[in-house]
Symmetry: C2
Subunit: 139 residues, 2 copies
């Protein structure tokens, strides 16, 4: 439940935060701050853009959501804070979750002295929709 997520993070429960988490929950689109703002504005006309950014940053900081750097144009947000990987369409930039637990071992001599704490895999490809569109035209 969203209320719990906010409480657990030690944050105050505000309608704005609930609206953002409500929109994010079950959202598979990995929306940008603007996407979120626009979507919520319809039901919540007083929502400010700044609040969207504030809230997203706060939630990320508290580990309640994930910020994705996949899109070179803008940040995108993932309601699932647990480690998982992503499947990205090279054409339309659609992003899907992909849950596979790979055991990626890095030999000591390749660690460059780093202490490795996690990883994230981006799989690139072409989504079904774009493949259809492409088959209808020449390259």
């Amino acid at each position: 439940m969203d209320r719990q997520k906010i409480k657990e993070a030690g944050l105050k429960l505000t309608p704005q935060r609930l609206a953002i988490l409500d929109y994010l929950r079950d959202n598979l689109e990995h929306p940008s701050a603007e996407d979120i703002y626009k979507a919520i504005l319809e039901r919540f006309p007083t929502m400010s853009f700044a609040t969207v950014y504030n809230t997203l940053e706060t939630l990320r900081e508290k580990g309640a959501i994930q910020e994705l750097t996949i899109d070179p144009q803008k940040k995108r947000f993932d309601p699932n804070p647990r480690p998982h990987h992503h499947l990205i369409c090279n054409r339309c930039k659609k992003i899907l979750d992909i849950h596979i637990d790979y055991q990626l071992h890095v030999p000591e001599e390749k660690k460059n002295g780093f202490e490795i704490v996690g990883n994230h895999i981006e799989f690139y490809g072409i989504c079904p929709g774009c493949r259809l569109k492409m088959s209808g035209m020449q390259s």
Copy 2:
């Protein structure tokens, strides 16, 4: 050789392009457009910021360099266009190459109809320098 790289890409050989590729070659820092601009400006005072962006985008488009989306603040560029992975320091955001050939199999039922053509792994950790700094302080 840089000249070849440019020729092969079907591009005109300009001093600006040479300067950028020269700076990028053997550079392990994965610099941003601004880093590149500033560094080159010292030896090449007429270089324009727009040209840096133009050139980087053109080179990327032709497959001569890689654009990294690892840094949420800005794009960073990698002189090595061949697939490889990256090791990122969570603290100072230093980025190092990591060359390991993992065979990442994605079962058909997890592909969501995508045709997968590649992948990129980001390993997160703390670099030796930051570990040292951290050991000297409380969290």
